[in-house]
Subunit: 485 residues, 2 copies
């Protein structure tokens, strides 16, 4: 057996090294030749305002799905379908080389966040411009969705194009690109339940996160869960004159501020009963390991132009925004918000509140706890309604999985460094959904940067990052297939 | 001297009684004959959206001034002028019969509150409709400004018409109708300083308040002062993704709610340092007298559809909204307030806050105390700005003045009841300004009702109240002139 074994290893090794050299050479050459077109295609995609949160943009969201379908066909998929759902359609595509080979399922989303407040954008959110910056000497694409997630999703389409056009695709690939990620992926569960066979895979690959820095590649190994609710406080049955009624009736805005303020104690712990009961507590070792990630509090503060950070007592900034649950008001409104003055006591006041959750907190349970707690806070004289919006579970991925190992090797190839495993504060609720429904692990290869301002005015994505992603992804296919063989 | 004295008295008495009978007969007859026209003229005035708070309506505000000028001329003024100011113009009119006779200065305003929220109006705010209701079997005019103050101001124009057309004007009259009352009468002080001579008078008459009920006439003897401010809390220099930054930076909305919530303690006392230092404390007797005014807490609550009233511990509802100072948020906004969900930490959050003040509190001093206190509340990690908007002093008028006596007799004539002196929670800052600049007392003869929903959707003014006002005003002129002779 020994000689055989040796022979096999030797053969594999020769095939591997030869393949490696070719790939390394050809991909860089290919990207150089097709750079302008690959940028223009992304720019065209970014021009469509696919805002899933606002029904006014329904036609644009659907149009975007059609464009994605066409691009997947051009990139080499054998089959591409627009799959209808109770909500926005999911674009499914596949290229099956050989059923005996491993299968990678790529997930991404073609919908984007609303651009509000539009007046803070330096250029219109849906008229992409490429500008050079200190951090992006090769330029960055400024547009809503450039990083989250059209830009990062499209890296996978272009990586497929490279692999098919150059006969470098080593395995099977499936794409599932949805249009409701920014509003809670409400139809995705419905779709997964009905398509387990079709979506069968060995690993799920997503680029919808970031890396620590351009020269510090990282792989996201943890995500926070989410519970998003809208609250409504109703006082008198109509708006009242604040002179005639001021001081005598409960003002829904004053009451709402009191209720929201009470959701944090003086140490910035969240006061919702039972909120922390299931929170995963990290070991001292884990926290020490986290603390090793490069981080400058001064740079962090100056980048945000704040004189101090703020958060839960007893935890560092990097812990507060990754391994600890939070509660933030994302929007509040009530009364007169126009120009000038209006002396009114409004009938109603509203707020949108989201809680970021950590492993072992169940988002539906937390939503219920919040509803119970918040409604109890209401004094006599007002009525309170809590409307659950959407949510998702937190997730942690093991760093000893085949997928993680393949991703790590891919980054080593293109960055020359081993990526750092990183817990992210963001939420991609569908990752835990995938594990439950499709029984496979998800690898989060993100190429964005914190400074990309996703969900903010002037969202952008570095041209360098875009092409680095397209270059790195084929290596993941390569190593994953090799490890699985 | 005795006989002479007797003779004089007898003559006066005969003249008086004869005059009285004629007046009583002729005014009711005149109003009957001209009812439809007098209603139509008010409807036409209400159609112009003279919203002084919103610059978009500038042309309409100015147009309204022109219409008022024309109506004053038609009603019999000898001189009417559009007086330019740093802000919106003031319409001045006069009819001087004889310089030796007393002079009544009528004040009113032709500007209106913004109609927001427009969607809560049953009919468009600037398309007046007359509808019969249980309280208003003769109908009520539904439109922004119908009661506050176009309708009540126009009662005086029509009363003048009656008096001039029927030779019943017993004295001199001057009109000063401004266009900035709803935004703090910012140009009025400027105008008064420059026109003390022109505006010289023996009493100022205003209808911009209400009465207790249709069958319970009342004269407003007290008004609350006002301090209106806008606050802005700034955190990070841009909107942030609440997943990546949530829990690690101060969220301006969370901070703003904490700051506002802290402005009242558990007894609903206002916590601004020094806020109560100069508050006029009423005697037990005064409070007992107030408590005699007819009031049903059950009706009050059911009219507003609330299960409980809410306010400062130790005071009744009628005290809370009249003799006690208050602090209300009139508007709040920040973050994403559109449809659906956006997981954002906004860079800024805002609120409009007004404080109603009572006699001896100085509005400028209170504004300064608030600014000092509020800015101190800001934790590290945010910046706070307090922008003073406008304000005015509280006011109390004595019930033994000639003006009050004349008004009281006028109500007795037309309501058959002695009116109740009443402290109002509202503010007409200019009343104390008049006393300072023009050295004369103001009489507040209001014909509106609390249920008229001024500053609210579906503002209306009873047709009965409108004509009752037109009928009562000439009696004020009559008795005031008589007392002054």
């Amino acid at each position: 057996m020994k000689p055989n074994f040796y022979k096999k290893f030797e053969t594999d090794f020769r095939i591997f090294t030869r393949h490696q050299k070719n790939a390394m050479a050809t991909i860089q050459k290919y990207l150089e030749e097709h750079k302008d077109r690959m940028l223009q295609e992304l720019v065209d995609l970014l021009k469509i305002p696919s805002i899933s949160a606002d029904k006014a943009y329904k036609a644009d969201v659907i149009k975007t799905a059609d464009v994605v379908k066409q691009r997947l066909e051009e990139a080499g998929c054998d089959v591409v379908e627009i799959c209808e759902t109770p909500g926005y359609p999911i674009v499914y595509g596949e290229k099956i080389k050989d059923k005996s080979l491993p299968t990678v399922l790529v997930y991404g989303h073609y919908d984007v966040q609303p651009p509000d407040p539009v007046n803070l954008w330096d250029s219109p959110p849906f008229e992409p411009v490429i500008k050079k910056t200190e951090l992006h000497p090769d330029g960055a694409i400024y547009a809503r969705g450039s990083c989250d997630d059209k830009g990062q999703m499209y890296m996978h389409v272009k990586a497929l194009e490279y692999m098919t056009k150059n006969d470098e695709l080593p395995c099977n690939v499936k794409f599932m690109i949805e249009g409701e990620e920014e509003v809670g992926s409400e139809s995705l569960g419905w779709f997964l339940e009905r398509n387990r066979e079709k979506l069968a895979n060995d690993v799920i690959l997503i680029s919808d996160t970031g890396m620590i820095a351009k020269d510090v590649p990282s792989i996201t190994t943890g995500l926070r869960g989410l519970s998003y609710v809208e609250v409504e406080v109703t006082g008198p049955n109509r708006d009242l004159h604040s002179g005639l009624y001021g001081g005598a009736v409960a003002n829904p805005i004053n009451i709402l501020t009191k209720m929201i303020a009470s959701l944090h104690d003086d140490d910035n712990h969240i006061t919702v009963e039972g909120f922390y009961d299931k929170v995963e507590e990290l070991s001292v070792e884990e926290r020490e390991k986290m603390a090793e990630a490069p981080f400058s509090l001064e740079n962090y503060k100056s980048a945000l132009d704040i004189d101090a950070v703020y958060g839960e007592k007893g935890f560092s900034t990097n812990e507060r925004n990754s391994i600890r649950p939070t509660l933030d008001v994302n929007g509040i409104w009530g009364g007169y918000i126009g120009e000038g003055a209006k002396t009114v006591i409004p009938s109603k006041a509203f707020a949108k509140i989201s809680m970021r959750l950590v492993p072992d907190q169940d988002w539906q349970e937390i939503t219920a706890l919040f509803k119970l707690h918040f409604e109890k806070l209401a004094p006599k004289g007002v009525r309170v309604e809590v409307k659950p919006h959407h949510g998702g579970q937190a997730y942690v991925t093991p760093i000893d999985s085949d997928g993680y190992k393949a991703a790590s090797k891919a980054y080593e190839k293109t960055f020359g460094k081993t990526p750092i495993p990183q817990r992210s504060g963001g939420s991609i609720p569908i990752v835990s959904l995938f594990e439950r429904e499709l029984k496979s692990k998800t690898i989060l290869m993100g190429f964005g940067l914190d400074s990309d301002a996703i969900h903010s005015p002037n969202e952008h994505f570095g041209v360098w990052n875009y092409f680095k992603g397209i270059e790195t992804i084929p290596w993941f296919y390569h190593f994953f297939t090799k490890i699985k063989k």
